[in-house]
């Protein structure tokens, strides 16, 4: 039901449409990026052009070059893959864990809930970034896989809370209670009755998980925890910082990757906004178009009288 509502409404509203388009663009970039950079000459993210060291944007290098003579545009394209890979993998892990903890907590309630809820609250109040840093710090020379795993493993708690609340409300609906009384096995109820009702929430959670993953990867890379061989938006900013790009005025080095992160995250925020408007009818009534029309209609009364 909720899923249907979401599906139907997703097409409407510019926020969701713009948001999904931007995300779609970057996903395409991540998928086709290597092919793009390989097939277009001069767009190799790893090639060091020694004739162009730290050059500002030009016709040859649209976004300029790094201190190592690498093309920033090529790196930004290549970086999409690394960043989104970490984002998606960590979101998959985080979402799976959130469901694993939140669903039984909401469905069974009681003691199960107390313990699982305690666990997720624990992870909520912990400063996750320093925690990830410490763990990653011990694992020297980590690859993107490991980083994604760590981010996902520590980033599920907020989602679990949402899933728990929603699972609780669905589990208390009459049809679930009735089926429970009739002796329907728990696993059937959980996965065939309760879980399908949460699809919308899970989708929204997954999306914010992807963004959280991209951001966390960038943050970790910035602090030096990354795969030195891999290219991601985070490693780009880190390299720029390490080479004092700011002090050399090489803005073209660190602006594009950060902007990409911000764009993806904004897109996700827009989608979430649109989803909120669908889920909460009160938010729908304050859309600009509606308010403007209402104001127009109201003024006619005033002038009539």
């Amino acid at each position: 039901m909720r899923t249907g509502l979401l599906g139907a409404g997703l097409v409407r509203g510019w926020k969701v449409r713009v948001g999904l388009s931007v995300i779609g663009f970057f996903v395409l970039l991540a998928l086709l990026g290597p092919w793009l950079t390989a097939s277009i000459p001069g767009l190799d993210p790893r090639a060091n052009d020694l004739t162009a060291i730290g050059q500002p944007p030009s016709a040859a290098h649209w976004l300029g070059t790094t201190q190592f003579g690498q093309d920033v545009l090529a790196q930004t394209i290549e970086g999409a893959r690394g960043s989104l890979f970490v984002g998606f993998l960590s979101a998959v892990i985080g979402t799976a864990l959130a469901i694993l903890v939140g669903l039984p907590a909401g469905y069974f309630g009681g003691r199960t809930d107390s313990w699982l809820n305690f666990l997720s609250n624990l992870f909520i109040v912990m400063p996750v970034l320093p925690l990830i840093l410490i763990v990653a710090g011990y694992m020297q020379g980590t690859g993107l896989w490991v980083i994604a795993l760590i981010i996902g493993f520590f980033g599920w708690s907020g989602g679990a809370r949402t899933i728990r609340a929603q699972a609780m409300s669905v589990s208390n609906r009459d049809f679930v209670l009735a089926m429970r009384t009739l002796g329907e096995p728990h696993h059937r109820l959980l996965f065939h009755e309760v879980l399908p009702h949460l699809t919308g929430w899970i989708a929204a959670m997954f999306l914010s998980g992807v963004i959280g993953g991209v951001m966390a990867e960038a943050g970790l890379a910035f602090l030096g925890i990354s795969d030195s061989g891999a290219i991601s938006w985070g490693t780009m900013i880190q390299a720029a910082q390490q080479q004092s790009a700011v002090l050399r005025g090489m803005w073209w080095w660190f602006v594009p990757p950060g902007l990409c992160i911000a764009l993806v995250a904004t897109a996700a925020t827009l989608v979430n906004f649109g989803v909120d408007e669908l889920a909460n009818p009160k938010l729908r009534t304050v859309r600009r178009s509606v308010v403007r029309r209402a104001q127009a209609a109201e003024t006619t009364v005033g002038s009539d009288a």
């Binding site: 009534t285 304050v286 178009s289 509606v290 029309r293 209402a294 109201e298 009364v301 009288a305």
Partner: protein, 375 residues
């Protein structure tokens, strides 16, 4: 939620003596039209609503859910928010002190604010939701009192709050309580006391007794009647429960699809309902004075206001429709103080004498109220 049958005690003799005062009217509502702005065509929730409210009178407004009665409440009190918009009509208020009449629709926010609570107050359906959960009860009285009387000290305002609570049978020290510390009945009575805090001339009540049990409902209604007698305010009482109105109200307006389809005294509406819809409503709950008979419901469902039927909005469900009902919109015609919007009662439109009221719609097992409530 099904409202229970109300026993026949404590019934004010509607329309005879009591609190009605001779000095005219308190409110003239003319052609009031409210629309909901949507991405598509606007939805008309109240259309061309016209009525007069006399001083100290209780006017009942009855209708199924979706009939526009809730929209009418926020429109009358000018509390609506987008997407609801008043697109036409006037609500003219005549102050008791003989001051100039004021049209609430075009009044400035400032003028409106001055009028609020001192002249026009409201009791909402659920007191649980209507009271601020993080403020003590007394503070919620005091801020209204002190807004309209700048000379009132804080202590005096709290003392007055305690007095007001006492008038509805709540001990004054309850002013220090938070809303969640009171029982449902207490909260509802407190919000009635709150509505009377500044001595209003008109109180709009939105089903104030649906959230409480029958015993509490009786108590509250008796209190409203008693307070009305002593204080002389007029009431617009909106509910889906016609049986309750028949006991309480002086006059009753029946709403259907955003329009008033019939308006008359409680007795007229009970003894001689003219609109087929009113008759259907009356026949769908147990009679008060006659022996119990088989209940009849109104077949069909209320119209979808986004796609209102052509002509008379009731014609798809009407057992007595005839040629032209689906094209011509009947006007509200008044004869001897009793108004009805039905072509059966228009001098020209009637095909044959009004059929016997008893031969109403084919009897069905379901009651109209359940249908209405479920929609």
């Amino acid at each position: 939620m099904v409202t229970q049958f109300v026993p026949d005690t404590d019934r004010p003799d509607a329309g005879t003596t009591s609190a009605r005062r001779a000095d005219g009217d308190v409110l003239h509502v003319t052609g009031l039209t409210v629309e909901y702005v949507t991405d598509g065509d606007p939805v008309r929730a109240c259309a061309d609503v016209t009525f007069t409210l006399r001083r100290g009178e209780i006017l009942g407004v009855a209708g199924e859910s979706g009939s526009g009665k809730s929209t009418l409440i926020t429109a009358l009190t000018r509390l609506q928010r987008p997407p609801a918009v008043t697109t036409g009509g006037s609500i003219v208020f005549y102050p008791r002190d003989g001051g100039p009449a004021i049209d609430l629709v075009t009044a400035t926010p400032k003028a409106l604010r001055a009028l609020r609570w001192t002249s026009l107050s409201i009791v909402l359906q659920s007191a649980m939701d209507a009271l601020n959960p993080v403020m003590r009860l007394g503070a919620q009285f005091a801020d209204a009192l002190r807004t309209h009387d700048r000379t009132l000290t804080k202590d005096a305002a709290w003392a007055r709050a305690a007095e007001l609570l006492a008038t509805v049978g709540i001990s004054g020290d309850r002013a220090r309580s938070y809303p969640h510390e009171l029982s449902g009945g207490m909260r509802q009575r407190a919000s009635i006391a709150l509505a009377l805090a500044c001595g209003p001339e008109l109180v709009v009540m939105d089903e104030p007794t649906t959230a409480v049990d029958v015993v509490m409902q009786r108590q509250i209604l008796a209190q409203v009647l008693r307070l009305r007698r002593t204080l002389g305010f007029a009431v617009v009482f909106v509910t889906h429960d016609l049986s309750l109105l028949l006991e309480l109200a002086d006059r009753i307006a029946i709403m259907y699809a955003g329009r008033i389809v019939e308006l008359g005294t409680a007795r007229e509406l009970y003894d001689d309902p003219r609109h087929p819809y009113t008759r259907g409503l009356r026949d769908s709950f147990p009679p008060l004075h006659a022996p119990l008979t088989r209940l009849t419901g109104i077949p069909g469902t209320p119209p979808d206001l986004r796609r209102p039927p052509s002509g008379c909005p009731f014609h798809p469900r009407c057992p007595q429709r005839f040629a032209g009902c689906d094209t011509d919109l009947p006007e509200l015609v008044t004869k001897g103080g009793h108004s009805v919007a039905c072509r059966l009662h228009e001098p020209t439109g009637r095909p044959d004498p009004v059929p016997d009221p008893a031969s109403g719609p084919a009897s069905g097992p379901a009651s109209a109220r359940t249908e209405g409530g479920a929609s």
